[in-house]
C-alpha cells in the first residue's frame, strides 16, 4: 500500500514536472554558437528568414554571427549601426553618419530593443531602412520598387515629400551620370585610347557613387562636395590630359616634318 502510494506520488510529481517543463518556454542555451548551429535550429524555426538571407546580398558575404554575434539575446545589438559599419565603412558609413538621420541616431540614444517598425525610432539607423521589419535581404534594393521606400520614409515624412525627394535624388544622380558619360566621351578622344586615362575615369566613377550615396543617405555634403563639383574637376582633368596628349602629338608630328594642310591644333581637325 505504502509502495503504491509512493509510486502514485512520485508519478504525480513526475507528471507535474513534465507539465511544467512543457508549459515553460523551451530552454535555449545562450551560446556561443557556430554558423552551422544557428542554421540547424533557425532553418526550421524561421525558414522564410533564412531563405531571405541566403538570397539577399549578405547570403554570400556575411553569416548570422557576423551581425548577431555568437550568443542569443543580441537582437538590439544587431539593429545598431555599429553592427553594419564594421564592414560597410568608408564613404558608405561617412555619407550616412554626416546626414541628419545619422546624427540623430548617434546622439539620440535610441531604444534598440524596439523592432524595426514604423514609428519606433526617431531617426532611422542603417537597419531601420535596409532591414525594415527584420527583413534579411535589403529592403532598399531598387528591385523592391518605390512603394516600399515610400512606405518606410513616410512614417516620419509626408507622402508627397517622400516621393518628391526620392525623385529629386534620381534627377541628381542622372546629372552625375551625364557627367560620367561626358567623361567617357572625352577619354575616348585620347590618342592612345581611353585606357590611357583609366585612372581618371575610375575616380569619376567613384564620385558618381558619392552622389548616389549622398542622395540615398541624404547627405548634402556627398551630393555636392564629394560628388558634383568633384565630377566637374574630373572632367577638367580628363580634358586637360587629352588636350595635352593631342598637343604633344601634334608637336611631334610637326618636328618630324610639318604638313601645311594639317592643322597644328590638337589633331582633332575641328574648328572651335
Amino acid at each position: 500500500m505504502r509502495a503504491t502510494r509512493r509510486r502514485v506520488l512520485s508519478g504525480a510529481v513526475l507528471l507535474t514536472m513534465m507539465v511544467q517543463v512543457q508549459a515553460a518556454p523551451e530552454p535555449v542555451a545562450m551560446g556561443p554558437f557556430t554558423q552551422g548551429e544557428c542554421l540547424e535550429c533557425h532553418a526550421i524555426r524561421d525558414p522564410a528568414l533564412v531563405a531571405q538571407w541566403r538570397a539577399g546580398p549578405h547570403g554570400a558575404a556575411a553569416d548570422c554571427v557576423a551581425c548577431h554575434g555568437e550568443r542569443h539575446g543580441a537582437l538590439p545589438k544587431a539593429r545598431q549601426d555599429a553592427a553594419c559599419t564594421g564592414c560597410h565603412d568608408g564613404t558608405v558609413a561617412h555619407s550616412y553618419a554626416t546626414s541628419k538621420h545619422g546624427v540623430l541616431v548617434r546622439i539620440g540614444r535610441p531604444d534598440w530593443t524596439q523592432p524595426l517598425s514604423r514609428g519606433n525610432y526617431r531617426a532611422p539607423g542603417c537597419a531601420y531602412c535596409h532591414q525594415h521589419e527584420a527583413d534579411h535581404g535589403d529592403t532598399m534594393d531598387p528591385e523592391r520598387g518605390p512603394a516600399v521606400r515610400d512606405w518606410i520614409c513616410s512614417a516620419c515624412h509626408a507622402p508627397r515629400y517622400v516621393r518628391e525627394q526620392l525623385a529629386a535624388g534620381d534627377r541628381l544622380a542622372d546629372v552625375a551620370r551625364l557627367k560620367l558619360a561626358e567623361a567617357q566621351g572625352v577619354a575616348a578622344r585620347h590618342p592612345e585610347g581611353a585606357a590611357a586615362v583609366a585612372d581618371l575615369l575610375e575616380v569619376a566613377e567613384r564620385h558618381l557613387r558619392n552622389v548616389r550615396l549622398g542622395a540615398g543617405h541624404q547627405s548634402p555634403d556627398y551630393q555636392w562636395w564629394h560628388g558634383q563639383p568633384a565630377l566637374d574637376g574630373d572632367l577638367i582633368r580628363l580634358r586637360g590630359a587629352v588636350a595635352q596628349a593631342l598637343r604633344e602629338g601634334a608637336a611631334r608630328q610637326n618636328t618630324a616634318g610639318p604638313d601645311p594642310d594639317q592643322p597644328t591644333a590638337a589633331g582633332t581637325g575641328q574648328e572651335p
Partner: protein, 454 residues
C-alpha cells in the same frame, strides 16, 4: 553763364535722375522672375525647392480638404506619419507648463489646402529674441547663416547649372529660410542643437571640414569621449561645459548671431586681422576663450592663426601670380574663348577672360576651365580653407596636412605652368599657330544639356 556751361550741369543731373530709377526698376525686374535672387529671371526652381525655401516656393498639397483642430491633425497623422507625432509629443511644444501646447495648426495653419511650412518668421512669433538675433546677423555680412540662401541663389554657377544638380546646395543654404537645420523637427530640442553633431551635416567636406578639424582638436576629443554623459540642457555659459562645442564658441551665451565674430571670413580672402573693426571681433574671441583659458594664451592662439593665414596667402598669391602671368601671355589652355563662357556674364561672350582669385569670381569658375585654373581652385578652396579651419579649431595635424597639400599644389602649378610656356613658345617659334583644343571643352552630354537648359 553760357548755354554750354549750363549743359555741363543739367545733362549729368538729368542722366543721374534717369539712371537711379532705371537701376531700381532693373533690380526689381531681375528679382521678380520665377526663381529668386539677382538671376531669378533666368531660372525656375526644381520641384523640391519648396521644402528648402518654403516661404517662397512651398505649394500646399490639395488632396485633403477642410479646416482642422490639433486633435484632428494628430488623429490622422498618428496613422499616416507616426514618427513625427511621437517626436512632437516628446517636444517641449507638447507640454508647456504655463499655456496650451503649441500644436500643428499654430505653425502650419489649420486649412489643409493652405498649409505652410514654418519659416523663421513663424518661429519668431514666439521666439522673438532668437529670431531677432538671427536676423541681426546680416550686418556681419557673408559667410553667415541668415544670408546663406541669398548668397547661394546669387552665385553665378547656381543660376547656370541644372537646377536638379544645385538642389544639393540649397539643402544646407536653407539654414537661412527655416529653423530645423539645427533644431530638427518635430522635437526642436535645444539640447540637440548645442551638440557639435548638430552642425556637421553641413559643416563637413573639403571647403569646410569643421567636423574633422574640430573632432581632431583637444576640445573635440574631450566632447567625443565624454560628451554623451553631459547634460546638454544647460545653457552655453561659463562653467557649464568642460570643453566647448561648436555652439559654445560660435553662439556663446546662446546668441543666434553665429557670424558676430567672423574675422577671417572662412579663409576665403586675405583679411587684415588688425583693423579697428577686426580688433573688436578679436576682443570677442578673447572673451570667449577666457571662459577657460588665460588671456595671454588666448591672444597667442589668435596671433598663431594670423601667422598661419599670412603663410597660406603667401602660397596662394604665388600660385595666382603664375596663373595671371599665363593669362597675360595667352597661354592658358584652353583659352577663355575656347571654352563655354563664364556663367551669367553677357559681356564675357564678347570679352572672354579667365577668372583668377576671389575678387574675379573664381568661386564660380570651378567647371569648364583649364586644368591649371582648377588646380588653383582646389588649392584655394579645399587645401587652404581646410588648413584655415584646422588652424582655427586647434587641429595642428590638419594645418600640417593643409599646408603640405598647398605646397604640393604650388609645385604642380609651377611645373604645369612651365610646361605650358615651353609648349606655347615652341608653337610660337614654329609657325605662330596656337594649339586649338577644338570642341574638346564644348561637347558632351552634360555640357550640352546644361547649355540647352539655360
Amino acid at each position: 553763364m553760357s548755354g554750354t556751361r549750363v549743359r555741363y550741369v543739367w545733362v549729368p543731373v538729368a542722366l543721374v535722375l534717369v539712371a537711379i530709377p532705371v537701376g531700381f526698376l532693373y533690380v526689381h525686374w531681375s528679382k521678380s522672375g520665377p526663381g529668386t535672387g539677382l538671376y531669378s529671371q533666368v531660372w525656375s526652381p526644381d520641384p523640391v525647392q519648396g521644402w528648402w525655401d518654403p516661404g517662397r516656393f512651398y505649394i500646399p498639397v490639395q488632396g485633403v480638404q477642410g479646416v482642422f483642430e490639433a486633435g484632428q491633425c494628430i488623429q490622422c497623422h498618428e496613422a499616416i506619419t507616426p514618427g513625427i507625432v511621437a517626436d512632437w509629443r516628446a517636444s517641449r511644444h507638447a507640454r508647456l507648463s504655463n499655456r496650451e501646447p503649441v500644436a500643428c495648426p499654430d505653425c502650419h495653419g489649420a486649412d489643409h489646402q493652405r498649409l505652410h511650412l514654418p519659416t523663421p518668421e513663424v518661429c519668431g512669433a514666439c521666439h522673438a529674441k532668437q529670431h531677432g538675433e538671427f536676423q541681426d546677423e546680416a550686418r556681419y555680412g557673408f559667410p553667415s547663416h541668415v544670408l546663406a540662401m541669398e548668397r547661394a541663389v546669387d552665385a553665378k554657377h547656381f543660376a547656370d547649372k541644372p537646377k536638379a544638380e544645385v538642389q544639393a546646395c540649397v539643402q544646407c543654404h536653407s539654414v537661412a529660410t527655416k529653423c530645423d537645420s539645427c533644431h530638427t523637427r518635430h522635437r526642436f530640442d535645444p539640447a540637440e542643437a548645442r551638440r557639435p553633431e548638430a552642425c556637421i551635416t553641413c559643416h563637413s567636406g573639403p571647403p569646410h571640414p569643421d567636423d574633422d578639424t574640430y573632432f581632431a582638436s583637444a576640445h573635440g576629443r574631450i566632447v567625443r569621449e565624454e560628451g554623451d554623459a553631459w547634460d546638454w540642457t544647460k545653457p552655453l555659459a561659463k562653467g557649464n561645459y568642460k570643453a566647448p562645442s561648436c555652439a559654445y564658441c560660435h553662439m556663446d551665451r546662446g546668441r543666434h548671431q553665429v557670424a558676430d565674430k567672423s574675422l577671417w571670413k572662412f579663409g576665403l580672402l586675405e583679411v587684415n586681422p588688425n583693423t579697428s573693426g577686426n580688433r573688436v571681433l578679436r576682443e570677442r574671441w578673447v572673451a570667449v576663450c577666457m571662459d577657460c583659458h588665460e588671456e595671454s594664451q588666448s591672444r597667442d592662439w589668435l596671433a598663431g592663426l594670423d601667422a598661419e593665414r599670412k603663410t597660406a596667402w603667401g602660397k596662394l598669391y604665388a600660385a595666382e601670380d603664375l596663373l595671371k602671368g599665363l593669362r597675360s601671355d595667352d597661354l592658358l589652355h584652353p583659352g577663355p574663348s575656347e571654352r563655354p563662357p563664364y556663367p551669367m556674364d553677357a559681356p564675357d561672350a564678347l570679352w572672354p577672360r579667365a577668372r583668377i582669385g576671389y575678387y574675379e569670381g573664381q568661386a564660380s569658375a570651378f567647371y569648364n576651365v583649364s586644368a591649371l585654373e582648377r588646380h588653383y581652385f582646389e588649392m584655394w578652396y579645399f587645401d587652404n580653407l581646410g588648413s584655415y579651419k584646422a588652424a582655427a579649431h586647434g587641429d595642428t595635424g590638419g594645418v600640417t596636412r593643409g599646408h603640405a597639400a598647398m605646397d604640393r599644389a604650388l609645385v604642380k602649378i609651377q611645373f604645369e605652368a612651365q610646361a605650358l610656356r615651353t609648349l606655347g613658345e615652341a608653337e610660337q617659334a614654329r609657325d605662330g599657330q596656337r594649339s586649338n583644343p577644338g570642341d574638346l571643352w564644348l561637347a558632351g552630354p552634360y555640357t550640352e544639356a546644361n547649355r540647352a537648359g539655360n
